[in-house]
């Protein structure tokens, strides 16, 4: 997995609640696409494009300086709904490295860490202030997200700490692969299974 340490860049204020993973990537794009690559052009297509396929100029993601921003700012419950990991692949495909929102759908949140995308949870007031600072700037404002020190630095230089599980932080910083780590516990898994086959034989078909 790709390592994540620090990102500095434009933060696009997509300030809406309950951004669901259907909105991030439509399901037919996943039926027709064979892998994890190539989904960027379809990310948020329902709000980035009009029904005739032309760009929607009202969408913040189509406006300068936010086009291609590596950081997305959003409101409560980002990534709710479907478990589709394609939502994370699509965001990554569009160049997104970090989402900053007050809360996340649980499955989406887990999926992010499997793909080197960092979901930062900050109170809505902080996210809105970051959005305000971005909007107030003539276009040169940048936000820094530093995973090592668990802090966000706003365009005006405010330092905002965030919390993250130590295990997840370590895995992202080092680009660790979950399966390989679990394989080191193979003996314990087998011992558990042997005991369970005696205790609950009906589970073992």
């Amino acid at each position: 997995m790709e390592k994540f340490t620090r990102v500095t860049g434009v933060a696009a204020p997509l300030m809406r609640q309950n951004v669901d993973t259907d909105l991030v990537i439509r399901i037919e794009r996943l039926v027709n696409n064979t892998g994890r690559q190539g989904l960027g052009p379809y990310c948020f297509e329902q709000i980035r494009f009009k029904p005739d396929g032309s760009e929607n100029p009202d969408c913040v993601l189509n406006q300068e300086p936010y086009r291609g921003a590596p950081i997305i700012l959003s409101a409560e419950n980002f990534g709710c709904g479907s478990s589709r990991e394609g939502a994370v692949w699509a965001l990554a495909g569009m160049g997104v490295k970090v989402v900053i929102a007050p809360s996340y759908g649980d499955i989406f949140y887990n999926n992010c860490f499997q793909n080197g995308l960092l979901p930062v949870a900050l109170p809505i007031e902080e996210v809105e202030q970051l959005a305000d600072e971005m909007r107030a700037s003539p276009g040169n404002a940048r936000v820094t997200v530093d995973l090592e020190n668990c802090q966000v630095v706003s365009p005006t230089g405010r330092v905002i700490p965030f919390k993250i599980d130590a295990r997840r932080q370590h895995a992202l910083l080092n680009g660790l692969d979950d399966i390989a780590q679990t394989m080191t516990h193979k003996d314990k898994v087998e011992a558990w299974q042997t005991t369970d086959k005696n205790a609950r034989p009906w589970v073992w078909l």
Binding site: Q17, L23, V31, I107, N111, R167, V189
Partner: protein
């Protein structure tokens, strides 16, 4: 120490503590479908791993297959390579596949309980967020992404952090016209779509105890719509009666041993929950969603909400939702003209759901302008319904009787509500574009959906 149902299942599945609040959890059942399952199986084998416990893994195509009568795998061509891949890899690794047209095939969350694969006290995962459905059997079940799915395939385990415990009690007599679907929609309307985030929910109370297993599955199905990855109902005699004699249920002496174990699972009377909420059933009426989030829900006899009178932080979302849905605030929602009715999905396509819809459709005619689809949840549900003559009732009323699959709930098989058209659906998500680009969805129970088909408009089932 007193423990909850959730604690008991969780604790007994911890293989080892990984530190920092994470554990390695054993997974007893992995279910695969043709979209996430086929690909994960392919990808994990390409990485050099093989399925660790193929006998604990079961596969059924449902997402990317047509539900048109007389369908084959080629009827929806984009799905055909997925199904072929699923067939090839399940065969290669000795994984049981319920193929289309065969007994046992159907929507993955219908198949698990129906076949007796979903058992109380087990951990069950699937690459689909509605895996929480299986919690209705007293199983700890949750949806996972593709990478986690590959992890389970390769190791039969998951790295997990323990969620908090949340108990919702539905107390009192179930009012007329109210179903499990109305109970859970009402709850989501009360608490919002993020209330369950980070929590494992247990549904309890007299109204839940009184629900048949199929109703409990519907109840748990929408847990993810309030943010909870998992929702559960304690197993009891109702559960055991449902499971007895099913294809993969334990038999004979093993059955007795299993039931004895299952009886130890319900939450201890003095167990603590991190959060509690109680719903008085007298307050619950038949529900219908009006907006683009499951929390945008009202009783069918109420007016469409006015954003100016709503909570300040919801005004923008409500305004956008009303615009997308083409609705005017303040008007009654009843009587809103509908173009489509979809009765199906992992939420509401079981035999009891079809019976409830058929009871409304019987001897009546759908409105001429409405397209009304019945998509049974599984091959077995379809056959059982046909044996009871439900298909006849629906066809006589002008409904279309289709093959099992996810169909128009997620529209991943090309079956869509056309742009700008309005659908009353028994599914679980009314998100923007969920049933097709520009489609306008109203979620409701099967009886409410059937009533909408008859009236040609959103209707109060209690008045029919």
């Amino acid at each position: 120490m007193a423990r909850t149902l959730f604690d008991k299942i969780w604790d007994s599945h911890v293989i080892t503590d990984l530190g920092n609040g994470f554990v390695l959890l054993h997974i007893d059942r992995l279910l695969l479908h043709d979209l996430s399952g086929a690909r994960a199986l392919r990808d994990v084998t390409e990485k050099g791993y093989t399925p660790a416990q193929p006998r604990l893994i079961y596969a059924t195509p449902d997402h990317a297959i047509s539900t048109m009568p007389g369908r084959t795998e080629e009827t929806f061509p984009p799905g055909a390579p997925l199904l072929r891949g699923l067939r090839e890899n399940t065969k290669k690794f000795g994984i049981h596949l319920f193929d289309i047209g065969k007994d046992g095939n159907g929507i993955v969350h219908i198949v698990g309980p129906e076949q007796g694969l979903t058992l109380p006290g087990t951990t069950l995962v699937c690459g689909d967020s509605h895996t929480c459905t299986h919690g209705g059997m007293g199983s700890l079940a949750f949806g996972i992404g593709s990478s986690e799915l590959e992890h389970v395939l390769a190791t039969q385990t998951m790295v997990q952090r323990k969620p908090k415990r949340f108990r919702v009690q539905f107390e009192g007599k179930v009012p007329e016209g109210v179903t499990a679907k109305d109970m859970i929609l009402h709850l989501i309307g009360d608490l919002g779509t993020a209330a369950g985030t980070g929590h494992a929910v247990e549904y309890a109370g007299s109204a839940v105890r009184g629900l048949a297993v199929e109703g409990r599955l519907t109840l748990c199905n929408l847990s993810i719509e309030m943010g909870a990855r998992t929702g559960m109902v304690a197993p009891d005699d109702t559960t055991f009666e449902y499971l007895a004699g099913r294809d993969f249920s334990p038999k004979g002496a093993m059955w007795d041993r299993a039931v004895a174990h299952w009886r130890t699972l319900p939450s201890d009377p003095d167990a603590d929950f991190d959060r509690e909420h109680t719903i008085d059933m007298a307050r619950v009426a038949p529900q219908i969603t009006w907006g683009t989030s499951p929390e945008h829900v009202i009783a069918v006899d109420r007016a469409i909400p006015d954003p100016d009178r709503g909570p300040e932080d919801k005004r923008a979302a409500w305004t956008a939702a009303l615009q997308y849905q083409g609705l005017e605030p303040g008007k009654p929602i009843e009587g809103t003209k509908v173009d489509w009715v979809f009765i199906g999905s992992c939420t509401n396509s079981r035999i009891s759901d079809l019976r409830a819809a058929a009871a409304i459709a019987k001897g009546r005619q759908k409105a001429p302008h409405v397209n009304a689809w019945i998509v049974p949840g599984s091959e077995r549900v379809k056959r059982e319904a046909e044996a009871e003559g439900l298909d006849r009732i629906f066809k006589d009323a002008g409904f279309e009787w289709r093959e099992p699959g996810c169909s128009m709930c997620i529209a991943s098989n090309g079956e869509r509500v056309p742009p700008g058209q309005r659908s009353v659906s028994t599914s679980n998500r009314n998100f923007v574009g969920r049933q097709g680009p520009g489609a306008r969805t109203h979620l409701a129970s099967p009886a409410m959906a059937a009533a909408a088909a008859i009236k040609g408009a959103i209707a109060d089932v209690r008045k029919l």
